[in-house]
């Protein structure tokens, strides 16, 4: 069953690559919906209290002990659901743009989907690494070929940044592989290892840096604002909505259980970095003049909080962190789509040039407001349950850290309402007075996102029921 999740997008990508037609985007959308349906079938057959399920394990490179080993637990299922849900939504939202060379573009998107699913279901370290690297390639081309000005330089920086992290991870993986008695990359073998304290320490940092770059965590984040701002909107959505969860998921599955003692020793420093990053990027968001760049910094703040929650090693911190990964995926896609809608109509993203859009397009103003409320974690919207749980976990870890990072709820309201006011409220000007009504595609995408803002906010247990039972597996003590 899980293999189908990899084969469908792979085949789809190949087919889409091969067909040179403007209608190819419908095909891409169709395939990604099939992928979503498969995920839903798995979801309904899934046993919430059953641990790892749907396991496929066969030998791949026999001589090196590398296996094609995939499987799902509740948390990875949620990540797969996020991926297979957002991908069709992102493809659909791109229908508003006329994309040059669509078969290559959508082919790359589908290839990326496959790699992302692969990352979330791998139970073999080598397989994980392969998918991890594979995911980088399509997004590199998407950003480099369809991006804005400076795209080559910026994409190259992003590429080098993450490749550097990946290499650290590879070294750590090979070291671990050599330590296993049966020379295996299997997650089970790696978590069963007892390592010298010193080795655990450097492995912790090697993994952490690799994941921290992807997430990104301060101070390894400087590729992110440039890349998010310059990549085409679909690329930015894939990056922020799904791809950065690879890093968070990596923390959870490939760091916490493998080096528990080092986590005990060093998690505090990692949390400190994450928490500083939250406040730091919130402050920078306050002074951004470019709306897309502002959302990029908001994203750093949000994922920093998630990372801190995961590293807190508390039940609520972990549950909330995973739930917030879903929420962040939805909201990031929503916010970047909002920016895209504004930019396509006004040809600008500079906040000070906009204003009064709510007068011309009240419906758009309502959608923006709802997503904004989710982003500032108003109760009964999707931002709240996760943030509440993360802060509960962090508070048990250290009350002062929770109080400090809690400042983000004030700063978050400040920068979001400030930019909303400048962009949407007030009187119209020559740029915004002819703001076109929303198209059907835009309205549908925004409706879906807003529905999720309320669904996760009002009934988070729907998702927490999958997450909660497996959380203890990721707590080292």
């Amino acid at each position: 069953m899980l293999t189908a999740l990899l084969i469908v997008p792979l085949l789809a990508a190949l087919i889409v690559f091969a067909i040179k037609s403007d209608k190819v985007r419908n095909l891409a959308l169709g395939f990604s919906i099939i992928e979503l349906l498969i995920t839903l079938v798995i979801l309904f057959q899934f046993d919430k209290n059953g641990g790892e399920q749907f396991i496929t394990n066969c030998s791949w490179v026999h001589s090196l002990g590398i296996n094609f080993n995939v499987g799902l637990d509740g948390i990875s299922l949620m990540m797969v659901l996020l991926t297979t849900f957002l991908t069709p939504l992102i493809i659909f939202s791109s229908f508003t743009n006329n994309i040059k060379n669509p078969s290559a573009f959508y082919g790359l998107l589908l290839l990326m989907e496959m790699a992302l699913v692969g990352v979330f279901i791998s139970l073999d370290g080598f397989l994980f690494y392969v998918f991890w690297e594979l995911a980088l390639i399509p997004i590199y081309f998407i950003a480099a070929l369809w991006g804005g000005e400076n795209r080559i330089r910026i994409t190259f920086k992003f590429f080098i940044y993450t490749l550097f992290g990946s290499l650290l991870m590879l070294v750590a993986l090979i070291y671990l592989y050599n330590q296993t008695p049966d020379h295996s990359f299997a997650l089970k073998s790696l978590t069963g290892l007892t390592l010298p304290r010193g080795a655990e320490a450097w492995i912790f940092w090697a993994f952490f840096i690799a994941f921290a770059i992807k997430i990104p965590i301060f101070p390894l984040h400087t590729w992110q604002p440039d890349t998010y701002t310059n990549a085409p909107t679909s690329g930015t959505m894939m990056l922020s909505g799904i791809m950065l969860k690879m890093g968070l998921f990596g923390l959870l599955r490939w760091l916490l259980p493998i080096v528990p003692n080092a986590v005990e020793d060093y998690a505090k420093y990692a949390i400190l970095l994450a928490v500083i990053g939250v406040i730091y990027s919130s402050c920078i968001a306050l002074i951004q003049s470019d709306l897309k760049r502002l959302i990029a910094y908001v994203s750093i703040a949000h994922v920093g909080l998630i990372a801190a929650g995961l590293l807190s090693q508390k039940q609520q911190g972990l549950s909330g962190g995973v739930l917030q990964m879903l929420t962040h995926g939805v909201n990031a896609v929503g916010l970047f789509f909002i920016v895209d809608i504004i930019e396509r109509r006004t040809k600008t993203r500079t906040i000070s040039e906009l204003g009064g859009i709510a007068n011309v397009n009240p419906l758009f103003a309502i959608f923006f407001m709802i997503i904004l409320l989710g982003s500032v974690a108003l109760p009964l919207t999707n931002g709240f349950p996760g943030e509440f749980l993360i802060l509960t976990g962090l508070f048990q870890y250290n009350a002062w850290i929770a109080a400090f990072v809690g400042l983000t709820i004030i700063l978050g309201a400040y920068y979001m309402l400030k930019s909303y006011q400048r962009v949407m409220l007030g009187t119209t000007n020559s740029i915004t007075e002819s703001f076109r009504p929303l198209t059907t595609v835009e309205t549908s995408v925004l409706l879906i996102i807003c529905a999720l803002v309320f669904l996760i906010g009002i009934y988070p247990n729907l998702f927490l029921e999958f997450i909660n039972p497996v959380v203890p597996n990721y707590m080292s003590h």
Binding site: S319, L378, Q396, L411
Partner: protein
């Protein structure tokens, strides 16, 4: 009936959804009917449940709707607690709320955003009901933030005006400062008691010694939340700015209901506060200081709504003083009467503003008595009530709080609070006389338009005026009656605190003295004000006139806003800029780029080594072999 109490918040929510989704299709009158009708429905249900409590047929009940957030040992259920305290609040919210809805039909009739306005109002009532009905702190927090959102939306209702939007944003953010305190309080409650449900928390707290530091910290954190929502110093400057919203909003949200959420929260948590005497003292002094400072600012304001806004801040201070001395039911009593007369005063002010074509400056009013007879009489009753003239509502509730403050802290509280009462009467009669008496000072065009408001406006005024007149009989002092209705009704809620508290009832002599002194002083104030504003027809100076320094300081609200700008807002923006320009661009990115440059430089340099001259290669090779030999030799 009590099992159906979940209908109470549901009805306004349905109203909100209908108005929100059907915005384009509904006529104005239909929108008004739906919005007021749903609130009236909730009110009727609330009355039946309330009567059940009076007859003793209803007991405090928890209604469980569904599990909201579960994680580990944390279980937050979406459930309501129906008891005496929550029902009292529900009655005020839906009762006064309904009147204000009806009033708004007339007041907002010419506004193009009519349906949107009523959708927001319904959403507000829903959130406020969640706040008071929740059976745990997290549900209270939903309502708490929800009313903050509605307040934001309604203050900035006329969103073309960026000043209004600034006021709205300020209200939301200042409230969020308080909310962070509240949230941290909830975390500590969960850590301490393993639950966030009132029942389990209060039961657990009873096992703690009085003055336990955990309880002190919890209560202080909750109080930070209360300070934000109920506009106490230092988190009060948003409330006067919030007057940018339409006047019915000021009456409902910024006078009668939302701003009293902090009072409700502490009354609800009375067990915790009674066990944390240090916090109680802090609550007491914050309330006292706020009551006094806000009253002084109110003395010199010329915007009719601003005067009422500062008056609200001041009256909320009174309620916190009552909470601080353990007079929980007295605080709730004043909350109730204040809801009546302050809603009345705001709605009256709205009627005046309506008649004056939007003018809010009392220097440009005067002599409105004959044009607006109903508004005039009802406003007078409101003024009498807030000033504490017997037998109007404010007299009883304020007298009760004053009586509680006799004794502790060598009567300092009593003295300051009494003096504040004097100030209250002064600024209220100042507004009253300047607005309604003497001669008209506005433009000819305004004079031409002067008219009494329609029935949808005057009927709520009359009803609220009646309530402001007789509302005080809910709780009469001991010297007049054996039965204090409200405190007996609320007794089950404050049972534990009343047992613990040492506050003793004032002597009969003290009560008589308070009443007599109050009457005499009030009479003197009225005479003074009549002399000044009617006989001498004195009008406050224009803004550009030179005034004494102290008056200037107070008129400019002690420059608190400017102070906040300088010590909070400016530094945050400064941090943002420095982070971006120095750390982000120069340090981190500079470091990253320098690595890149080094690699490129290294590549360029090494490339030069590949000269293509075979002789050079051989030379390097031989040199290398010699070096290896030497290395081995030395080792």
């Amino acid at each position: 009936m009590i099992q159906n109490a979940w209908l109470i918040p549901l009805l306004p929510l349905i109203g909100f959804l209908i108005l929100g989704l059907g915005n384009k299709f509904l006529t104005k009158s239909l929108s008004g009917i739906i919005a007021s009708g749903t609130v009236l429905g909730s009110f009727i249900i609330a009355v039946t449940i309330f009567l059940g409590f009076l007859s003793g047929e209803n007991k405090a009940t928890t209604i469980n709707l569904f599990d909201w957030i579960n994680s580990g040992t944390l279980h937050i259920s979406f459930s309501f607690l129906i008891d005496q305290l929550s029902m009292l609040m529900v009655l005020i919210i839906t009762g006064v709320g309904f009147l204000i809805h009806v009033y708004s039909i007339g007041y907002m009739s010419h506004d193009e955003g009519f349906t949107r306005f009523f959708a927001y109002l319904n959403l507000f009532v829903f959130s406020m009901l969640l706040l008071v009905l929740g059976s745990n702190y997290v549900i209270m927090f939903i309502g708490w933030e929800g009313v903050g959102l509605c307040s934001y939306l309604l203050i900035g209702f006329w969103f073309k005006n960026q000043d209004y939007n600034d006021a709205a944003k300020k209200a939301f953010i200042m409230n969020r400062i308080g909310d962070l305190g509240f949230l941290l309080g909830i975390f500590l409650i969960y850590m301490t008691f393993g639950s966030v449900n009132y029942a389990e928390v209060f039961e657990g707290a009873k096992g703690f010694a009085s003055g336990d530091s955990v309880l002190v910290v919890i209560t202080l954190l909750l109080f930070i939340g209360a300070m934000g929502k109920s506009a106490q110093i230092p988190l009060y400057t948003w409330l006067p700015d919030a007057m940018a919203g339409p006047t019915p909003v000021s009456a409902l949200i910024h006078a009668a209901t939302m701003v009293t959420a902090g009072i409700y929260m502490i009354a609800r948590s009375n067990v915790l506060y009674t066990l944390a005497p240090i916090t109680q003292t802090i609550v007491l002094f914050v309330g006292l200081f706020t009551a006094f400072v806000a009253a002084t600012i109110g003395l010199f304001q010329n915007d009719i709504k601003k005067v009422l806004a500062y008056s609200t801040v001041s009256q909320l201070g009174y309620m916190f003083v009552a909470l601080g001395v353990g007079g929980y039911s007295s605080a709730m009593f004043h909350l109730t009467t204040h809801a009546f007369f302050k809603a009345l005063l705001f709605l009256g002010a709205g009627s005046v503003i309506h008649a004056m074509s939007g003018e809010q400056d009392i220097r440009k009013m005067g002599g409105l008595k004959k044009y607006l007879p109903i508004t005039y009489i009802t406003f007078l009753l409101g003024t009498l009530a807030i000033s504490g003239v017997p037998p109007f509502a404010g007299f009883f509730s304020k007298d009760e709080i004053l009586a509680l403050t006799i004794g502790p802290f060598s009567n300092i509280i009593f003295i300051v609070l009494s003096f504040t009462s004097v100030l209250t009467a002064i600024y209220m009669f100042r507004v009253f006389f300047l607005t309604f008496h003497s001669t008209f000072r506005g433009t000819e065009e305004q004079k031409h338009h002067l008219h009494e408001s329609p029935a949808t406006i005057t009927i709520p005024l009359v009803i609220l005026a009646i309530l402001s007149t007789v509302g005080g009989f809910l709780g009469m002092p001991r010297i007049m009656s054996e039965h204090h209705f409200l405190s007996q009704y609320l007794a089950p809620i404050f049972e534990f605190s009343d047992l613990k508290s040492e506050a003793k009832a004032p002597s009969e002599f003290a009560e008589y003295t308070i009443i007599i002194v109050a009457v005499v002083v009030l009479a003197l104030i009225v005479l003074w004000a009549m002399n000044r504003y009617i006989k001498k027809a004195s009008v406050p100076p224009a803004d550009d006139k030179q005034t004494p320094a102290l008056r200037n300081l107070i008129y400019n609200k002690y420059y608190i806003d400017e102070l906040y700008d300088a010590i909070i807002v400016a530094p945050i923006n400064w941090f943002g800029k420095q982070f971006n320009n120095i750390i982000e661009i120069q340090m981190i990115d500079g470091f990253v780029n320098s690595i890149g440059k080094t690699v490129i430089w290294g590549g360029k340099t090494l490339r030069l080594v590949q000269t293509g001259a075979i002789g050079f290669y051989i030379f390097v090779m031989v040199a290398g072999i010699i070096a290896i030999l030497l290395y081995n030799f030395i080792r």
